[in-house]
């Protein structure tokens, strides 16, 4: 087995339960280069976990800006959704009227068609 093949498998071996095949294990046990690479991956993972508690300080006015924008954006959205709601209600009403009109026209047309043969015969 070649180093390249083993090294391609290393990122998956770092997962809990990521157990290497016998072939891979034997290679790692006897290859200093792949051992070194595994050590680097493990260190990298340790440092990644550390990043979680390395908090980044936002700019001093960020919090106050967030709070101001929060309520403003909330109100804008509420107004928008109210307007959208009204628009939808209006469209629904217009749509309803159209359906009623179309139904009426269809019913009348059918009736006149049914009457037609009687009148002709």
């Amino acid at each position: 087995m070649k180093c390249d093949e083993v090294q391609a498998l290393l990122p998956a071996l770092l997962d809990a339960g990521g157990t290497p095949s016998v072939e891979v294990r034997v290679h790692i046990e006897t290859c200093l280069r792949c051992q070194a690479d595994l050590v680097r991956y493990r260190r990298m993972l340790r440092e990644l976990r550390e990043l979680r508690t390395r908090y980044l300080e936002p700019s001093p006015d960020a919090l106050s800006r967030t709070l101001v924008n929060l309520w403003e954006a909330g109100e804008q959205r509420a107004i928008r959704s109210m307007l959208t709601g009204r628009r939808l209600a209006y469209l629904a009403a217009v749509g309803g009227l159209l359906v009623i009109a179309a139904t009426t026209v269809t019913v009348l047309a059918l009736r006149s068609r049914r009457r037609a043969p009687i009148a002709g015969g």
């Binding site: 180093c3 440092e47 990644l48 976990r49 390395r54 980044l56 700019s59 967030t66």
Partner: protein, 200 residues
Amino acid sequence: MTESDAPGSGNGPEGDHALISAARDGDRMAFEELVRRTYTETYTLAVRLTGNREDAHDVVQEAYLRAWRGLKSFRGDAHFSTWLYRITANTAYSHVNKRRRHRSVPLGELRTEIADEHAPSPEEKAETAALQSRLAMAVAQLPSKLRAVVVLKDVYGLAHEEIADQLDISEAAAKVRLHRARKQLRDLLYDDRPSKESTE
């Protein structure tokens, strides 16, 4: 921009509980206090996920707005901060995808931003600090799809299942992205891979 080892809040989950139920009833002051308590953590997660401060601020803003509007659906069986993490991750993911279609942060700019944020503190060992700094930069340089998975899994410790759920991808895809991300991070950190020789 500085880095600290603890977020601003020193308040326990009991205090949070009272604030959450008040906020759920529409108490804005209570929600503002929750924002204050979780702000630094949320911001940190947003920077890690987006790779830059400007987007992080937008994501934080949107995440709190979603949290306020969705507070009624928060059942309280998880920590408020965990729930907020989910919202932030989700918001960051859609934000980054949307942004990618419109503009991109030049790499040089991004490097400077993240490097500044990770300036090593004096008490840290120089080597570890340098690695941390390079690692944070490397994470920021990853393609957004890979970055999201590695941040959620290897930094925040979420399960594959949860990540798949957050990002609306299969668990298998989450794993593939994670392994690709680790490989790319490794290459960015240790740019010394020898050319093509190998041992049998």
